[in-house]
């Protein structure tokens, strides 16, 4: 084992391999930060370039791209409130407020550091615990996915402390939007009005750009008066990276918890960085001593989200390498690359091709460290982009949104949907509906529906349609977690009440 370790390191630090991996990380960051381009897309575009390479540099490059893109998404999330990839949705919650406070660099450095730590953690888990973790992936059947979706939806309760009814309505609307298109079980067209383009449903990224980006751009333009015309003032300060790192190192539990959540969610096939980040964020809120600060711009929020979405990378490769079942969409593309190199997922990868596989896994850890450095040094540069005056910035952002939404499926219909969602998003904001719950509903809708209907069919076969939901151990754990999570705002208020009984008035 130790010998494998050293052989792997030798491979990783070979100039050619190392260079390509670094190029991959950089490219990943750049693609990730453009809204509309996702990690999956970046990998798909660059896979052909890896054909002519040997397996090791090819996989190292792809691993670098995947990791880089997971961090890159946070850049646009922080600077312009638009997740560059879906995994950065949760990063906008505190990332953008930080930018508005003039602390964009703090947010970017937090993201780089957190992503780095999370990525290394995920890679190490992949390295050491794979056999153990692979079996976890298989334990998730339809009922477990259903309850996982329900748990995910209860996060809305934590996220929308200001007005839970509106948050829940947002979630319900998100669920409804996810039903547009062909039903996953049954194949009937729903809400498509005869447009074949809608049969595929509303693409998540299109909706993300619409809900997060356009309303922000419109809000920017709203504020143009005679003088003010920048989003926020960013003045470069000295020594920000070290300051931020010191702050974060004081919170090891936050980093550890986020990493664990990210890895674990990654292992569950189908659940990717977006869910990982959202769950991690909500847990950070739940266990924080000052939950009300989240959402106003605290680096803990950014750290929670970004640490877990990079940890997810390692997790998603667990079922991929052992069973050929991708833990998340980008992993599916890597599967394609693996197979094109002539390798087949399974035990062979760890024995016959062990050298390649272990090098790949270890390279993920190294890639994340490199990414951290690029992030630290790049943050000052990226943060400066905020200083572009709004009159240029707003149209530019729209311009990029159009490119982004078009490039998903080369379909103008997507661009149109993006704009329509943008307008709807603008009005929702005016009515105090936060886009987070809506998007969460859209993401979890398919999991909930598939899980529900498939389980009902399974239940019918075993005699009891509903029984199957309540008789399996993992399901029960998830149910308990969901109940606690849903009731949390009340539990938290009760605890606060008790703490206040000492003397001060409690809130009415």
């Amino acid at each position: 084992m130790a010998e494998m370790f050293f052989t792997a390191l030798v491979h990783i630090f070979q100039p050619f391999n190392f260079l390509f991996m670094t190029a991959g990380v950089t490219l990943g960051i750049l693609v990730g930060c453009l809204p509309g381009l996702t990690a999956t897309m970046a990998l798909a575009i660059l896979v052909p370039f890896t054909f002519t390479m040997d397996a090791i540099p090819a996989l190292m490059t792809l691993g670098g791209i995947y990791s880089g893109a997971m961090y890159g998404g946070s850049i646009s999330a922080i600077l312009v409130n638009t997740p560059g990839t879906p995994s950065a949705i949760a990063t906008t919650f505190d990332g953008f407020p930080l930018t508005k406070k003039g602390m964009a660099e703090h947010a970017l450095v937090t993201s780089a550091f957190g992503s780095s730590i999370g990525g290394v953690f995920g890679a190490l888990c992949l390295l050491i615990l794979t056999p153990l973790l692979a079996s976890v992936a298989l334990k998730f059947g339809p009922p477990e996915y259903f309850w996982m979706a329900i748990f995910g939806l209860t996060i809305i309760a934590t996220l929308s402390s200001k007005n839970m009814v509106k948050g829940l309505i947002g979630g319900a609307l998100g669920l409804m939007i996810s039903t547009i298109g062909l039903s996953p079980i049954g194949g009937d067209s729903r809400f498509t009005f005869g447009f074949y383009g809608l049969a595929a449903g509303i693409n998540l990224i299109v909706a993300l750009i619409g809900f997060f980006c356009i309303p922000e751009v419109l809000a920017m333009v709203e504020k143009i008066t005679k003088e003010r015309y920048k989003i926020a003032e960013y003045k470069p300060k000295k020594g920000v990276p070290l300051q931020v790192i010191k702050e974060l190192l004081k919170k090891p539990i936050l980093l550890l918890r986020s990493s664990v959540i990210g890895t674990f969610v990654g292992i569950v096939p189908g659940a990717g960085g977006n869910i990982a980040a959202l769950v991690s964020y909500s847990e950070a809120v739940r266990w924080s001593k000052k939950p009300e600060e989240f959402g106003t711009g605290v680096i803990e929020g950014v750290a929670a989200a970004e640490t877990s979405n990079n940890a997810e990378v390692g997790g998603s490769l667990v079922p991929l390498l052992t069973l050929g079942i991708p833990g998340a969409p980008p992993a599916a593309v890597i599967l394609g690359a693996i197979m094109l190199q002539g390798m087949v997922p399974g035990p062979e990868l760890f024995t016959k091709y062990g050298e390649i596989t272990y090098t790949f896994i270890l390279s993920l850890a190294v890639a994340n460290i490199i990414m951290g450095f690029i992030g630290f040094y790049g943050s000052k540069f990226f943060a400066r982009l905020i200083n572009i005056p709004v009159n240029y910035l707003a149209p530019l952002i729209v311009f990029m949104s159009v490119i982004g939404s078009y490039s998903i499926r080369n379909n103008m219909m997507d661009v149109l949907i993006m704009v329509v969602f943008g307008v709807i998003g603008y009005f929702s904001r005016k009515l105090n509906f936060h886009p987070g719950p809506i998007v969460l509903g859209m993401i979890l809708g398919p999991f909930a529906e598939n899980g529900l209907v498939q389980s009902m069919l399974m239940g019918r076969a075993s005699g009891s349609i509903w029984g199957i939901f309540f008789t399996r151990p993992i399901s029960l754990i998830l149910i308990i977690m969901s109940v606690i999570s849903a009731l949390w705002p009340f539990i938290a208020a009760w605890r606060k009440n008790r703490a206040n009984k000492g003397g001060l008035e409690t809130n009415a």
Binding site: L138, A199, A332, V344, M458, A461
Partner: protein, 332 residues
């Protein structure tokens, strides 16, 4: 009250854009152009090869395998594009509306292109409009259980199903898809009832099956080969026994008139000039007959095929008749 011109302009602009944007997506008759006499210099620029599924899937891997060879025989770059959605329907609809100039082709899957328009009036395309160039791969569908399953042979499976109708759960990919139809055929010929659990793709169905959430699976040959050490194939959908599973009978052997399979090929828009198709056909046939590629395919569990344009057309016609019959029976 002053007329709010900006608001009126906004509304007008909005409506026009919505109509224009939607107009591009509404149902239209695919244009049939006169086949021009092409200058013999085809291809002169890069060709787009569309995959109507997500990146990383089986069709993608196959296209990537072909890409370098295609580029060599055609002398131009081949650009792979993804247009996923509705199980391939979005990609095939776009195919039927694309310019038939020979620079646009899309991977095609049978029986998808037959079943989709047959079941949905809003699929966006018709089977006849898919203009096949070649079929290069088949993955017969097999029925399998895990090694520790109580069913040792298909006869035991059927016997159990007869005594416990609706109790056996079979994981499959899609509703009224190739897998589902295979299940319906099995039920019909064996006289049993099972519970079919549709999943959204190969990975989810395998995950559910390997995790013991369903008792059996109807899966493509390459997936079965990948996990051959964990499973027992009870029956297979080829004409003769498959080398990888020599102990597994074929459905045909058992007296069931079914050859369930998912076949992959490539197609061009209707109206593409005949000689352009011939050039493309030749390029794909060369790959299909390449012994190294064939070997790779077989190792991974695919059945290499080399059907040219005419053969593919005939095959699609034949398969269409069969499947339409089955669908008609199901509807009753």
């Amino acid at each position: 009250m002053r007329r709010n011109w900006s608001l009126i302009l906004l509304v007008v602009l909005l409506s026009v854009t919505l109509i224009a944007g939607c107009g591009g997506a509404k149902q239209e008759e695919p244009k049939k152009e006169e086949p021009k006499v092409e200058a013999p210099k085809y291809p002169e620029k890069s060709i787009t090869y569309v995959i109507p599924f997500d990146a990383g899937g089986q069709s993608d891997v196959e296209a990537r395998r072909q890409q370098p060879h295609l580029e060599k025989s055609l002398g131009q770059k081949v650009l792979i594009e993804y247009k996923p959605g509705a199980g391939g329907a979005v990609g095939w609809t776009e195919l039927t509306r694309a310019k038939p100039d020979g620079y646009y082709m899309t991977g095609m899957n049978i029986p998808h292109i037959i079943l989709q328009p047959a079941q949905r009036s809003d699929a966006g395309y018709k089977t006849e409009d898919i203009n096949p160039v070649a079929i290069f791969q088949a993955t017969p569908i097999g029925l399998a259980v895990l090694n520790d399953s109580p069913f040792q042979t298909i006869d035991e499976f059927i016997a159990y199903a007869k005594e416990n109708p609706g109790k056996i759960t079979i994981a499959g990919s899609g509703t009224l898809s190739g897998h589902d139809i295979a299940r319906l055929q099995l039920e019909k010929y064996a006289g049993i009832k099972t519970e079919y659990i549709p999943f959204t793709g190969a990975a989810p169905q395998l995950q559910a099956f390997l995790g013991k959430h369903t008792m059996a699976i109807l899966a493509n040959s390459n997936d079965l080969v990948q996990h051959k050490d964990k499973i027992r194939v009870l029956a297979f959908g080829s004409t003769e026994r498959y080398e990888v599973f020599p102990d597994s009978p074929t459905f045909v052997e058992k007296g069931f008139d079914m050859l369930p399979s998912i076949d992959r090929g490539v197609a061009v828009p209707p109206g593409t000039p005949a000689d352009v198709i011939k050039t493309l056909e030749a390029a794909f046939m060369q790959i299909a007959n390449d012994p190294d590629i064939k070997k790779q395919m077989i190792e991974q569990g695919f059945v290499p095929k080399a059907m040219g344009q005419e053969e593919s057309k005939a095959y699609i016609e034949k398969t269409k008749k069969q499947y339409l019959e089955i669908l008609a029976e199901v509807k009753k």
